[in-house]
């Protein structure tokens, strides 16, 4: 896990060497002269070997010093203050929505498999899976924001001002991220349950006089949820990545927007920090999914 993170941070660091432009480009803008640029590069230490700079960044990072943003002149910690909370709240909310929508729906669809409701949902599911979150975002701002006036597009309030206002504003962005994911989880859970329903133990359970509902609840669900849990854990990583786009559409001041702006500004310290955070979430969720799977089914051993 640590090796993965190290590799990712190194790759991110090196990637900036390949693309044109560096922090000096942005800082000098139209006042650029080669002499000024060279002087500034020297002052910022950018003229040194890339591996030396990476090592410096790394040793700083592990001791909790994330460096100073080139673009804002504040420490990275100060720049990210409050931004992380927005993205975290948005992601967790979207993730909970995915679970809250897809688990009951998946079970219900499997329970009433083949009925009209199921057929309608399966067809619609296909559509929802295909809609990109940014498009849903634009649709939501228009329908819920401008027509139904359930929220004020662009009227984001920080959690320090009004906690409920903050959560309220996040609901629609969270839904925009959650719906395509929820559609996938629903489909996965439904087919997982239906697969299990054909197993021998299900027939045995029926023969012992259990009702369809109790078979589903007490026997099938435990097995059917296995692959779903892994998938749901992994979606959190996807959701964090998805929030980058949705933050733009809803004008949310989160990590995603900061990341995009910082890449544009070639603000390496900020980019490094966000990349490592996102990488950590992905790796960690993967790990967590393994542990949960193992707890449910002790036969699976962690590799």
């Amino acid at each position: 896990m640590l090796v993965t993170l190290l590799l990712i941070s190194l790759l991110a660091f090196l990637a900036f060497q390949l693309i044109p432009g560096d922090p000096v480009t942005k800082l000098l803008g139209s006042d650029y002269t080669p002499e000024r640029a060279a002087a500034l590069r020297h002052e910022m230490g950018l003229d040194r070997n890339v591996l030396v700079r990476y090592w410096e960044w790394l040793t700083g990072f592990v001791t909790g010093d994330m460096g100073v943003s080139y673009n804002y002149g504040m420490t990275v910690r100060q720049v990210m203050e409050g931004k992380g909370a927005v993205t975290a709240a948005l992601s967790v909310m979207a993730w909970l929505l995915v679970i809250a929508i897809s688990i009951p729906l998946g079970i219900a669809l499997a329970r009433w498999q083949g009925r009209r409701l199921d057929r309608v949902f399966v067809a619609m599911n296909q559509v929802f899976m295909a809609i990109p979150p940014f498009f849903l975002g634009i649709l939501f701002t228009y329908v819920f924001g401008l027509v139904l006036k359930l929220f004020v597009p662009g009227g984001f309030v920080g959690p320090d001002k009004s906690f409920w206002g903050f959560l309220g504003y996040l609901i629609f962005p969270a839904l925009a991220i959650a719906i395509p994911k929820a559609a996938m989880v629903t489909k996965l859970l439904r087919s997982s349950i239906l697969n299990q329903m054909n197993e021998d133990y299900v027939r045995t359970a029926y023969s012992r006089g259990n009702s369809r509902w109790s078979v589903l609840k007490d026997h099938v669900l435990r097995n059917a949820l296995l692959p779903v849990i892994t998938f749901v854990a992994m979606t959190l990583a996807d959701i964090v990545a998805g929030s980058i786009v949705v933050e733009q559409v809803f004008a949310l001041p989160g990590l995603g927007r900061l990341l995009l702006a910082s890449i544009g500004n070639r603000d390496y310290p900020v980019v490094q920090c966000i990349v490592v955070i996102i990488a950590f979430i992905v790796v960690f969720m993967n790990y967590l999914a393994d542990i949960v799977t193992q707890t449910i089914d002790p036969r699976i051993r962690l590799g």
């Binding site: 006042d31 924001g145 004020v152 984001f156 206002g165 309220g168």
Partner: protein, 505 residues
């Protein structure tokens, strides 16, 4: 059982958040009558140092509310006294004497003294470091206080345009804007949050007419569609620099049309083939009908230009140059043939454009279409990210052609024309003409206003005759406000003056 309780609890929380949250956020966005929220499309520069943040127009336009110089521009393009009450100039135009206004205070409450002025100008002109922070002050040789209210600025060479540079900000003696932002303007700085907002508040001890609203929040909304939505919903009260299509979507609000005050052109790399050949540059000028470009790319909004000067500069603007190259496809083809191109061996080149700037992208598309009509030109748009454009095209000068806008940081003709002097560091198109250098030198050293104007116009004419660039337009600038917002004024510079903006009713 546990699972069911959990699901139930979740559902309850979600519903509660939906109900209470929806209502409250609407309330918070309305704010008080004294507060105004402005949407801006990009975050400000790293430092809010008024002497170094000259690169980003978006930073300058916000700082305009916080800092003032000895003089400041007004909406008509005149220089009006600010921290100075008046000034005099000697006969040779190389020594300017400023008398300070009494009772001008910094935002920290202290009165402005000659020491502050000397410190600020010395810092901006880089007299101690040898490296001017404000490039236009490079000609300053000394700044001295002769008594408690008089400052004398001496120049190494005569410069009749110098007063326009005295808009450089006055800051407290010994201070560094990195440690705290203190100016003398109608608003004082409160806070900023990266990628989120910048907040300023009315300065109650301002020497002049006080700002009409108590607090202005500049909210950063980078996405153009999100900006339109935020205006629709009332989350922001005002946004400037919108394009024609965005403005058309917002017609139920107050839509004001001004101009961006910049020179949009197809800038050509005069230093290398194919555009080192004047015939090729002229051919493009004949082939590109700028009025049609404006119609196609900007729905007909915009002011056609024929040289590196826009109408807001008044006496420096030469209208005759606008249609110097009347659209003439036959002539364009003739010139291209002369230069050795034909239908089978067409002129091919790329146009570098920053992808995020929709008006420039639209213009580029129109230009490519018009050039295709000659049958001898194949231009290709090269969309770029901002930093890449800066590093490769602008700073690296590695481009064929680019569409961008050049604005003026001060109210002087040289702000637009200096860059085409052959050895100027900002001469990114590599334009080199001895006539131009001579005319420019004559203009800046002239002490007679009419003579100076004539020389600057000569510069503009040389640019046009040589077809240094294919000049297109000064883009229309749409400012959209909620219907209860009044008092927004356009300046001939890229600034956003919030002091007169207020909410009525």
């Amino acid at each position: 059982m546990k699972k069911r309780i959990l699901t139930l609890a979740l559902a309850v929380i979600m519903t509660a958040a939906l109900l209470t949250g929806g209502g409250q956020s609407a309330l918070a966005a309305d704010g008080s009558a004294e507060e105004i929220t402005v949407g801006i499309a990009s975050d400000l520069d790293s430092s809010l140092d008024p002497h170094v943040s000259s690169s980003l127009a978006g930073t300058r336009e916000v700082l305009f509310n916080i800092y003032e110089g000895l003089l400041k521009p007004d909406t008509q393009g005149n220089l009006i006294p600010a921290v100075a009450e008046e000034y005099t100039v000697n006969d040779t135009a190389d020594q300017y004497t400023f008398t300070l206004r009494e009772g001008v205070r910094f935002h920290d409450g202290r009165e402005v003294t000659v020491g502050d002025v000397v410190y600020s100008l010395t810092r901006a002109a880089g007299l101690e470091t040898g490296e001017p922070l404000v490039a236009t002050l490079a000609g300053v040789s000394s700044v001295e206080a002769t008594d408690d209210s008089t400052v004398v600025v001496s120049l190494s060479a005569p410069d009749a345009e110098f007063p326009a540079y005295m808009t450089a900000a006055i800051i407290p003696e010994g201070s560094d804007p990195a440690d705290g932002i203190v100016g003398t303007g109608p608003f004082e700085y409160v806070s900023r949050s990266p990628q989120e907002n910048v907040v300023i508040e009315r300065f109650d001890d301002y020497w002049g007419e006080k700002a009409k609203c108590a607090k202005v929040t500049f909210r950063i909304i980078e996405d153009g569609q999100a900006m339109v939505m935020a205006l629709h919903s009332g989350a922001i009260d005002l946004a400037a620099h919108l394009d024609a299509s965005q403005a058309a979507e917002l017609s139920e609000l107050n839509v004001l049309e001004g101009s961006m005050n910049l020179v949009q052109a197809l800038y050509l790399n005069n230093a290398r083939p194919p555009f080192d050949d004047a015939r090729v540059r002229q051919a493009l000028s004949y082939a590109i009908d700028k009025h049609m470009v404006i119609d196609l790319a900007c729905d007909g909004h915009g002011t056609a230009l024929g040289s590196s000067m826009y109408p807001a500069f008044g006496r420096f603007f030469d209208e005759e140059l606008t249609d110097y190259y009347a659209p003439d496809l036959a002539k364009a083809m003739e010139l291209l043939e002369e230069a050795g191109y034909s239908q089978s061996d067409p002129l091919t080149f790329t146009i570098a454009v920053v992808e995020a700037y929709t008006p420039h992208m639209n213009t580029a598309q129109a230009v490519v279409e018009l050039l295709r009509q000659t049958g001898m030109v194949e231009a290709e748009i090269l969309p770029m990210e901002n930093a890449t454009w800066y590093s490769e095209a602008y700073q690296g000068r590695d481009f064929d052609a680019t569409i961008t806008g050049m604005d003026a940081s001060t109210l002087t003709a040289s702000a637009l024309l200096a860059r085409f002097v052959s050895d100027n560091a900002k001469n990114f198109i590599g334009f080199a003409s001895e006539d131009y250098d001579a005319a420019y030198a004559a203009a800046v050293s002239s002490t007679d206003a009419d003579e100076q104007t004539a020389q600057f116009k000569a510069c503009e004419r040389i640019l046009t005759e040589n077809a240094a660039n294919v000049y297109i337009q000064d883009l229309a600038d749409f400012v959209v406000t909620q219907t209860d917002i009044q008092g927004y004024q356009f300046y001939p510079l890229y600034v956003m003056d919030m002091a007169n903006v207020c909410r009525v009713g």
